[in-house]
Amino acid sequence: MKNLSLMRLSIWAYLAIFFAYLLGPLVIMSIAAFNSPEFPRATPWECLTFEWFSALFQDERILNGIKNSILVGFGTVVLSVAMGLAGALMLTQLGPKLRATYYTIIIAPILVPGVVIGISTLVFWDRINRMLGLDADSFLSNGLFLTVIGQSTFIASYCMLVLVARLQRYDTALTEAALDLGATHAQAFRKVLLPFMKPAIASAAVLAFLASFENYNTTTFTFGEYPTLTIELAQKVRYGITPAISALAFISVLLTVFAALFNEANIRRKELVALARKQATVEELSRGSFKMPGFLSSNWAAVALVIVACATVVVVGTATVYSPQQCIADVQEQKRLETELRIQELQRQRELRRQQQEAEQGSTAPAQSKPAGNNSGFGGVFAPSTLSGEDSSSAVEPEAKASGFGGAFAPSALSGEETSEGSGN
């Protein structure tokens, strides 16, 4: 029994570590998107801010990168899904001997490093461009064209793998049945094979888009005048990053969660509908009194989807009215104070050291004659930590109030006055 619970405990611990490893960076990145410091970091937490999102949406280069990425993504999706489907169809037509060879050839681009594909795409099309006697700025050397072509070389292979898996479950008798019933080959393809392949085509398209969106290795050689998002990010990082990138990360995480939940909700809904149809009596089905299950009924994914959507709307709503200016000002103020205190501390320490040195030398008088700056009366009475603690607590309070208390509270009032003095400087 004890062993068993230990086992379970260690499995949970393992899972926790595993997920922390997987999701930790994303969580930290997401938190940093809402934190006010100039450099993306989750701790120390300073102020809740949405400014990095607006910074992101005002960054021309990032926006342009996103636009290019989407353009390239769509191009790649169309090209690679088409090529992947053609490749998959071809594979099913071949005899067993040729099939293995064909498969290896068609899979090869996945194994070739992206850098190599990028360079060779560039070189190859440049050659063709020259062979055709076209200018250096012709269509064939256009960055969008090259990037789409270059990425599709290997993304088409991914698509083919996805499509082949589905195609293997296709009964070719269905196509024959369609032909037999008078359909042309094109009709049989469009009305029978394509609908069957639709789910796999959708998966392949999503896969292709994501692979294209995140591609850097190949694109870095082919982008020309159309830098994609990854290229822009990489260039930005060279000059230091801001939390705007965290904001971008957060948005993509959110979109992913959204898409995943939406997909799951849809799948579950389909399952529920199928179940309901199975349980419905023949009479119900034929009379049409059969009730489809609602989108939300016993579908946790749909519920989660709605919750996430609501949360997003609320956050966006707050973001439009919320202003972190006050908080940021406070924090800046506090930081300034801290720095000041630290300077004072240093001065005091230096003073103390000097006093000690002087005491060692036997002359204590000059020490007293020298006032110790603002801090004169207290000397070393307050431990430095106590002081800074009280200091910060009063610093968060509005300044006007602090000064309003006058000298009513002895120690803190003093530090309060110090604050107002400080802000006056």
Binding site: L174, A177, D180, G182, A183, Q187
Partner: protein, 370 residues
Amino acid sequence: MSAGVGVDLEKLWIRFGDFVAVRDANVHINGGDFFSFLGPSGCGKTTILRAVSGFLEPSEGQVLIGGNNMKGIGPNKRPTALIFQNLALFPLMKVWENITFSMEVKGASAKERRKRADELLDMIALPDQGDKLPWELSGGQRQRVAIARALCAEPDVLLLDEPLSALDLKLRQHMRTELREIQKRVGITFIYITHDQGEALTMSDNIAVMRAGVIDQIGDGKTIYNDPATAFAASFVGENNVFRGTVKQVQSDTALISTNRSGDLLARVSSANQGKMKAGDDAMMFIRPEAFALAPVGAQGDHFVTATVTNEEFEGNAFNIFMEGEGGKEMKVSLPNLGQSFDSHKGQPMTLQYDVQNAVAMPAGDLATE
């Protein structure tokens, strides 16, 4: 559609590489006939059907439909509709869309199609089921949908590839009659493929018996059953007791066969082999289990074999009696159950009498292996 469209296979050969799937098939199928190809698994039945429907080009010879050579005409241009061995209903289309697919590809409006689908659904006794998906139907219902889908294309020739093989016995028997009725109603030519001889016999006007790519015999059910042309046909269609031996003497249409273990027996030479048997040839002789009459030893008729009862079996409509003759020769006798009390004869020697007309002799050949 009074006469219907006939189909002819002329000197048809189909090869896959070196393998010959169909060898020199010559078949004439009358318009409006219910014609069956009967043969064991792998004998080339589907291959012939695919050649007729246009999915396979013959290696040699030709396929004529309604007298027209079909060479170079694709499956979508031929006046045939095929019901596939696994039905091949379109899984993502509703029943009514499945049925009217042939109209959809010709551009018929949804309203027309729906109307026609409802007519056909009534015909196959599945009214109001048009909005289901194929997998929501039972096996027999799917079967009928496949038939309706093929009929909707208004073919001149309907090709059916073992459409009942996936069904259970009761449903199969029910569908047999139903298919036959549909065929009579629509009056078009049906070419039916099966390896079930019961199916072929009950439904067909004519049957072609196939063995390993070769057509052994073509004829109506009675001819095939009573007057088989080859040893294979005799042993594949229905049950038969086989006696091997050599021809001792042939006199017009009867032959005296010197059997290996049961002595000299007289038999009728099957029509296809008359004039082809002469003394000294290897021969085979077949007597159906139900053609024997059991009699006590001594009460000998003209033609008989003696044997001992080894085992008995009650089948409901008949008693099966297993016997062992001289030299361990096994034989089976079937007696109809007429309500008679049946006492065990186990271990008893008996005489098996038969009528020469019911014993068929032919040259020796391959038997169907069970």
